[in-house]
């Protein structure tokens, strides 16, 4: 798999768009899922996924092969998600002067900023549980959201997550622990 991806990357670097398309196909659903779980709506998720691969393409020659290709792509996507969340927050703060919720270690910080519109997903999921889990994850502060998604939806190792977020493994581990506890409190009554 690794070798196959590296070959696609090399071809892409030489201007082979079909090879680049194949590389995109390998990762588009994973990146889309990450963005969806980070942002909570399908339109934003696909925007971010598109933007992620645009950046991958623009930076093909800057890929550092000490990391896995997947790590590099996840990293770009995660940064774009965090950025998008930050911009939303700024926009929200400009709209209303609601006081920030402090003293919760950031875990509950983004409780209020999910999109409540009915997404197509809701129509066919029709599963209360899935919706609750989704909302619980969205209620975490972004830094916890990222590690929980990467660990439990993408099944990545702590080392890979550490490479993606650019923080020590120990920090990632602490975030997983805290994230688990925060989610437990929200989900234990299901």
């Amino acid at each position: 798999m690794e070798a196959f991806e590296k070959r696609l990357l090399k071809l892409s670097q030489n201007g082979d768009r079909q090879a680049f398309g194949e590389l995109v196909d390998l990762y588009k659903d994973k990146i889309n899922s990450l963005a969806y779980r980070m942002l909570g709506n399908l339109q934003d998720a696909e925007d971010i996924a598109q933007e992620t691969f645009m950046r991958v393409y623009a930076n093909l020659h800057r890929y550092d092969d000490q990391y896995k290709i997947s790590t590099w792509i996840y990293r770009i996507a995660n940064n774009l998600c965090i950025d998008r969340i930050r911009k939303r927050k700024v926009r929200r703060n400009q709209l209303s002067l609601d006081a920030e919720i402090t003293g919760t270690d950031g875990l509950e910080y983004y409780d209020t900023i999910q999109d409540h519109e009915l997404t197509p997903e809701q129509q066919f999921l029709q599963q209360e549980v899935q919706e609750k889990v989704k909302q619980a994850i969205l209620s975490l502060a972004p830094k916890y959201r990222t590690v929980m998604i990467l660990k439990y939806l993408d099944d990545l190792s702590l080392q890979e997550i550490s490479d993606i977020v650019g923080l020590p493994v120990a920090t990632v581990k602490t975030r997983v622990h805290r994230g688990r506890e925060a989610l437990r409190k929200k989900l234990r009554d299901i």
Partner: protein, 205 residues
């Protein structure tokens, strides 16, 4: 083992990082403490719930849409990349461009006065007349004869090359030229000639 200790171990347990011994003591406690047991169950349920979330597929034309959005100047990017990998070719190309540029300049830049370059000048074996440089029948020119902005007429012997730049070479039946005869009348010929003569200079110092 106290509940507080268990609380601090519960996540290590979930991460699979407890030693054998620690794990058996941990489980021993859970058997006797409903509260800690409940805590662990809740965490395990939480993990299972998060893992139950499905991946979300992109729309079907995601990749086509993306490829259509990519910048069109990929040729330029590829070229830039290629240039980075072949610095020698780039240096050589720049040099040749420079040569061509300076040749063009010298083609137009000089005044159009007749110029002769030959080592026979001193021996007075050449006759210059009416825009012609004439090598008489009885004369022998030892080296090359190069004339710029004028014609050459040869009746004698030239042991080197005869080259007319911006002019013509006329040979009579008695003429004998050991080297080559060349007329350089076009700008392109001139550039080519400059590059060639530079090449010879490099190859035969």
């Amino acid at each position: 083992m106290s509940c507080t200790e268990i609380q601090s171990q519960i996540h290590d347990y979930l991460d699979g990082e407890l030693s054998h011994q620690e794990e058996s003591r941990f489980k021993e406690h859970l058997n006797t403490c409903a509260k800690c047991h409940q805590h662990l169950l809740e965490l395990e349920k939480t993990i299972a719930l998060v893992q139950s979330l499905s991946h979300v597929r992109t729309t079907r034309d995601f990749t086509e849409k993306l490829l259509a959005r990519l910048p069109k100047e990929k040729k330029r990017q590829v070229f830039a990349f290629w240039m980075k990998k072949h610095p020698l070719v780039v240096a050589a190309s720049i040099f040749i461009l420079f040569m061509i540029g300076s040749s063009i300049f010298s083609w137009y830049g000089e005044d159009r006065e007749l110029q002769i370059s030959s080592n026979a000048l001193a021996s007075h074996s050449l006759i210059v007349e009416d825009g012609y440089v004439y090598v008489p029948e009885d004369k022998v020119i030892e080296g090359d004869l190069i004339v710029k902005h004028g014609n050459i007429k040869v009746s004698g012997i030239v042991k080197g090359n005869v080259i007319a730049i911006d002019g013509k070479v006329l040979l009579s039946s008695t003429a004998h030229i050991a080297g080559k005869t060349e007329e350089v009348n076009q700008l392109l010929d001139w550039i080519w000639y400059k590059i060639k003569s530079f090449g010879y200079a490099v190859v035969t110092p």
